[in-house]
Symmetry: C2
Subunit: 355 residues, 2 copies
């Protein structure tokens, strides 16, 4: 059995007993009922995911995966592909948005080369990044598949490997991405999985004008028409219209679920990866924590497809890298604090409400 | 000149030069333009407030003020007034929501007895709380003023004293409240200041049913009719339909502004205090950071009156205590990290966008 097949077999839904026990405690906290709203809902999820009402969320790992995209040849991004390796160097030197926000949240960053179109061996040899390179950027999805099915499986299994490794020492994972052009494959994935109109799902990415946006819509449509991804087959969707970092993140998400670790989903690209993971194994849904609502218009439909009505944050972020996930890590810790540190009416000797 | 008058004279708007310098740096960060959205807006505010583009937000103080309310005699709350001192004890023993969430955010809590209807001297003598008691609970606003004008000024000046003291060692303040019945005076303040209908502003507080809610609307209306607060006079509004902890928080906010410290505003009651402070000196607006949107329906109108279109968080909180402010402290730190730790395109040697 392959690593992917074995992983899928280890994914089960949330534990209802732990959820129920957590709910009983939260119902009796010395506060008006459920007065800490969304963070209490999150507490239940954390109990259900970890199978305990005293989860720990101290050790936090943000996994930021990088890859390049052949579809950049279609002029779908304002930035050239060279920016992808430049940003990897920026992550390594600690000057990127994700570095600043991870430090604030007390999270460690793991930068992974899933398929950057540049030689990053030196960084990997120095231990600055993880080398899981599947290829030097994907092929152009506007004219054919992004990658072979073998490569797609390899990308996913690389992500699973990382999850299995990190699960030994970390309590919670966050997803992050870097890849010039990667809103285009993510939009294609969104269109295939949610079955909504490409027009409604396509956004300005790093800052396209109206004409560039219209062109991007055409490119996404062409990618789907040319490749005809099988909506029921997550590996096929990834191979046809995906990206190496998207596949790696899908694997990380599957691996998180198999290891019963909550995985905080960042923005548009990470949610596309979650759609791939969900198509492969729907139970992963129970392990996803949606950090924020991106400015990208398609994000809402993708989150709703995954059962998320309202993510934790809505801060007009559109950066990726894991920045939304990093900020949300604070809320994950807050949810644990509510579950494990707030006293019940009885414990606090506080009078209960007059019914 | 009184302390209040002196404080008002020390409140100036945000520093436009520091804001402009911060904006120039943020415009050049190695990210798509303004891709960290609301946190970048917050970075500008922090620069304008502190007059520097390298602000520090390490030392965080949450000031949770407690007081009782004579209007509880009108059956406007599901909980008896005894819960106010019980919750003060809960704060001191570390088991309340605000304790858990402040620990997560790395903030210290200062609990202040502004007017609890119980003898809390022992806690004050042990240094567990600050004793600024103005009275043993306010009078019933449904039949007359909450307090005298002298008491209102004293409540406000107590808050200023605390701000002046904490400003020596803390970078940022958060507001918090505890007071059974205090959504009723806060709704009255909201109605007076925003001039909106009492019906639209009144909420269920700790959990009223429909009949109790209708009754609360009547009580708020009566409080305004009986007392006729002067809409232009913040001290008068506080004296007529306010509360001791609301006055203390208004003073804390004025004192924060005079000391050029950002003050993170919690929920419904804290925002009522901000309305009092704003009525006294409109420039305080420049120092307010709105942490979250409360479940209480009137909160939106109050925030909008203070110029806030969208607070940082929307987590369905309705607890008070400073819990929303505590969670938002993480975002304040994040905004500082973006301003001071993220590299520009030039610093990171990243190619700029193709225009």
């Amino acid at each position: 059995m392959s690593l992917l097949q074995r992983t899928i077999k280890q994914i089960f839904p949330q534990d209802t007993e732990a959820r129920d026990t957590a709910k009983e405690r939260l119902d009796n906290l010395a506060i008006p009922h459920w007065a800490l709203g969304d963070l209490m809902d999150l507490s239940l999820d954390l109990a259900g995911i970890t199978r305990t009402i005293t989860p720990q969320m101290k050790k936090k790992a943000i996994v930021t995966m990088a890859g390049d995209h052949g579809v950049v040849a279609e002029n779908v991004s304002k930035y050239p592909s060279e920016v992808t390796p430049q940003m990897v160097y920026n992550f390594v030197s600690g000057g990127a948005g994700i570095n600043a926000l991870s430090r604030q949240a007390g999270a460690e960053i793991f930068v992974v080369d899933m398929g950057v179109a540049a030689d990053l061996k030196e960084l990997a040899e120095k231990g600055k990044i993880l080398n899981k390179k599947v290829g030097l950027g994907t092929d152009n999805i506007a004219v054919g598949p992004a990658m072979s099915r073998t490569m797609a499986t390899r990308a996913i299994e690389s992500g699973i490997d990382i999850a299995d490794e990190l699960a030994q020492s970390y309590d919670v994972f966050g997803t992050g991405d870097m890849g010039i052009g990667n809103t285009t494959p993510s939009t294609a994935i969104a269109a295939v999985c949610t079955k909504q109109n490409v027009e409604a799902l396509t956004g300005r990415g790093t800052g396209l004008d109206d004409a560039q946006l219209a062109h991007k819509v055409e490119v996404v449509k062409r990618a789907i028409e040319v490749n005809k991804p099988d909506v029921k087959d997550g590996v096929d969707i990834l191979a046809k219209v995906g990206g190496f970092e998207i596949g790696g993140l899908a694997g990380l998400i599957l691996g998180a679920a198999a290891n019963r670790k909550p995985v905080v989903i960042d923005g548009f690209i990470s949610t596309a990866a979650a759609l791939i993971a969900y198509t492969i194994e729907p139970f992963v849904k129970d392990f996803l924590i949606f950090s924020h609502r991106s400015v990208e218009p398609g994000h809402k439909a993708m989150q709703e497809h995954l059962g998320c009505k309202k993510p934790l944050l809505d801060l007009n972020f559109r950066l990726g890298e894991g920045t939304g996930a990093a900020v949300a890590m604070n809320l994950v810790e807050g949810a644990v604090a509510i579950l494990t540190e707030v006293a019940t009416f009885e414990e606090a000797a506080v009078a209960v409400a007059d019914k």
